[in-house]
């Protein structure tokens, strides 16, 4: 935890400013921008879970959206088909995703590079196709809607504070995790799996645990997003959706815990503003993505760090 204690004064000041402005958003912004703020917060967590695997674990899953989508659908199905309270469903979703992630992890962690990515992709497409086709349970192409949280908690500001609190706690946990002995072991396994194994690090176990944790928190992000949208759509776990956390992570900076959070904020705000002006947002995003990879591969954080 050394790095937590030795964090400089400027870092603490920045954290306080960010926290204060995050808390004040609903006081100044209308419902639309509160919704955008929820999206930023939720995708920040989602992108950080991806970077736990990629930046810290050296794994590049092509199908991470499977867990985001599964979390969202877990909430939707529990609420619509089993008549659960939305908040209870929100609590259950990460566990469903952890179980699914554990199953995938058993096979993924033994693979390297492209094969791990492809297996994750195959699992995602399997899940996507089942959700797309299982009309009676999932609503197929139409998705499921009407997931309003009853009472005061259903107001946009309340959902925002709920998301902010849950994401803040999750990020604090993930921050601790990557700076714990477990996190160091995970990063060692990334840099050199053979040497790590030789000094007694169980590489497969470290990767597997990271996979389960990333899956569970990605599921929490998806579940929060489902409640904020009051609906879920199969597109959330289609293959193109898996690129979103990758774009956010690279945009913000891979070699930084906070990079994906910044990437999420920039991405979501950019998308919100640009889609107001043009229907060709994807064209701009594509050019932006290629531009970043070519010109500033260390992302925004890397740029400021010099």
């Amino acid at each position: 935890m050394g790095s937590v204690r030795t964090a400089g004064l400027s870092v603490r000041l920045a954290l306080i400013i960010v926290a204060a402005s995050a808390l004040l958003i609903p006081a100044f912004a209308g419902p639309f921008w509160v919704f955008v703020a929820i999206e930023v917060v939720v995708f920040a967590l989602y992108a950080v879970t991806f970077n736990l695997l990629f930046g810290f674990g050296g794994m590049l899953p092509f199908g991470h959206a499977a867990f985001f989508g599964l979390g969202a659908y877990a909430v939707a199905v529990l609420v619509k088909k089993a008549a659960w309270h939305p908040l209870l469903a929100l609590g259950a979703a990460p566990f469903a995703c952890a179980v699914a992630a554990a199953f995938v992890a058993v096979f993924c962690v033994r693979l390297t590079g492209i094969y791990l990515g492809m297996l994750s992709f195959a699992f995602q497409m399997l899940l996507y196709t089942v959700i797309f086709k299982w009309y009676s349970l999932t609503g197929g192409d139409d998705g499921l809607s009407g997931l309003a949280v009853p009472g005061l908690l259903g107001r946009p500001e309340a959902l925002y504070y709920l998301s902010l609190a849950l994401v803040a706690v999750s990020l604090a946990f993930l921050w601790r995790l990557v700076h714990s002995p477990f996190g160091k072991g995970l990063q060692a396994a990334k840099s050199n799996p053979h040497k790590s194994a030789a000094i007694g690090i169980n590489v497969a176990l470290h990767r597997g645990i990271a996979f389960v944790i990333a899956g569970a928190f990605a599921g929490l992000a998806g579940a929060l997003f489902a409640l904020a949208n009051q609906s879920v759509f199969p597109g959330w776990l289609n293959w193109t959706a898996s690129a979103v956390p990758i774009v956010m992570t690279v945009l913000g900076g891979v070699h930084s815990f906070i990079g994906p959070v910044i990437g999420s904020a920039v991405y979501v705000v950019l998308q919100t503003v640009l889609t107001g002006y043009t229907e060709y947002w994807a064209l701009i995003l594509g050019a932006l993505v290629i531009g970043i990879v070519m010109l500033m591969p260390e992302g925004i954080m890397g740029y400021f760090r010099g």
Binding site: F54, L60, F62, F107, L111, T112, G113, I114, Y115, G117, M118, L119, F121, A122, F123, M125, L126, T129, V130, K133, N238, W239, T240, A243, I246, V247, T249, V250, V254, Y280, A282, L283, L285, G286, A287, L288, V289, I290, I292, V293, M294, P297
Partner: protein
């Protein structure tokens, strides 16, 4: 939900032959796309997420030449040649301008560059050709049905099988019987060594990426009379090509051939046997292969 449909057809040779031929013609198109994807991966280790988008681009190129009402075989032939060559040139330019700079970068960056191309092409075709779904006619001489082996088959499907087989033979000759083929196969085994031996490997990378895109463009052009050419055309093709390449073995040419054949047949018979399961079958097989034999049927373990 009835997972297993009636199996009466299983003793009907006409149905069996018809499904087999239908699977073969779909497999032929799939082979063209997957062979390019696999070749590109084998040489450059890049997974081209834009491969389906290039296929779509090829379809639009061909449709632009053919139009909605032409039946002329000459114009159709010109359209196919154009879609192949234009996609080849597109691939060469993209490789030189972008991919070439990131071969040493992390895989995530390579993924993002090809994914960025997916986003750009997806919107570019909307900008250039609009949102409509376009269709074209089967050229004269290839319309109607032909009787072969006692089965009545759409002639155009037979034509696709013939083209697929011809391209397969030409590709095989190039890869296994020509000097450039030796170099391409050497690059899939050890590019550093090949470079150390004085071969201009950058040219091979450019050529192979262009070739792969050309094959995708060819498949896109050929599919114009049997699909509707619209902005969503790329997704299904890419996913099926991924499945083929994984099943056959990433980077393996025979793997792409066998994988495309198997997936074509699995789709054709799966639809009859268990329609609800057929759609997930490619991913189930893909998952199983990766779990137990990640290098595929014909690939080599790393």
């Amino acid at each position: 939900m009835d997972f297993i449909a009636s199996l009466d057809w299983i003793t009907d040779p006409t149905v069996l032959a018809r499904q087999f031929m239908a699977g073969l013609s779909n497999g032929a198109l799939l082979f063209l796309v997957a062979a390019g994807l696999s070749l590109i991966f084998g040489v450059s280790r890049i997974i081209n997420f834009a491969h389906g988008a290039v296929y779509m681009l090829g379809a639009y190129f061909a449709w632009t030449v053919v139009g909605a009402a032409s039946r002329s075989p000459l114009i159709f032939a010109a359209a196919i040649v154009f879609s192949t060559l234009a996609s080849f040139v597109f691939g060469v330019l993209f490789e030189i301008l972008f991919l070439r700079r990131i071969y040493r970068s992390d895989q995530a960056f390579q993924l993002l560059v090809t994914f960025g191309l997916v986003l750009i092409l997806g919107d570019a075709v909307r900008l250039i050709w609009g949102r409509e779904e376009n269709s074209a006619l089967v050229p004269a001489g290839l319309e109607g049905a032909t009787r072969i082996l006692g089965v009545v088959m759409p002639t155009y499907r037979m034509f696709l099988i013939a083209v697929g087989a011809a391209v397969c033979i030409v590709l095989w000759l190039v890869l296994y019987r020509s000097r450039i083929g030796v170099l391409i196969r050497a690059a899939t085994v050890d590019r550093e060594m090949l470079k150390a031996l004085g071969v201009r490997t950058d040219r091979i990378f450019t050529l192979v990426f262009g070739l792969g895109c050309g094959l995708a463009g060819l498949a896109g052009g050929l599919s114009v009379p049997i699909v509707s050419v619209g902005p969503g055309l790329h997704s299904q093709v890419l996913i099926e090509a991924f499945a083929v390449v994984v099943i056959g073995g990433m980077g393996s040419f025979p793997g792409a051939l066998v994988g495309a054949f198997l997936l074509g047949q699995a789709n054709a018979f799966g639809v009859l046997a268990a329609p609800a399961l057929a759609i997930v079958l490619p991913f189930v097989v893909m998952t199983l292969v990766l779990m137990f034999r990640p290098w595929g049927l014909f690939g080599r373990p790393d």
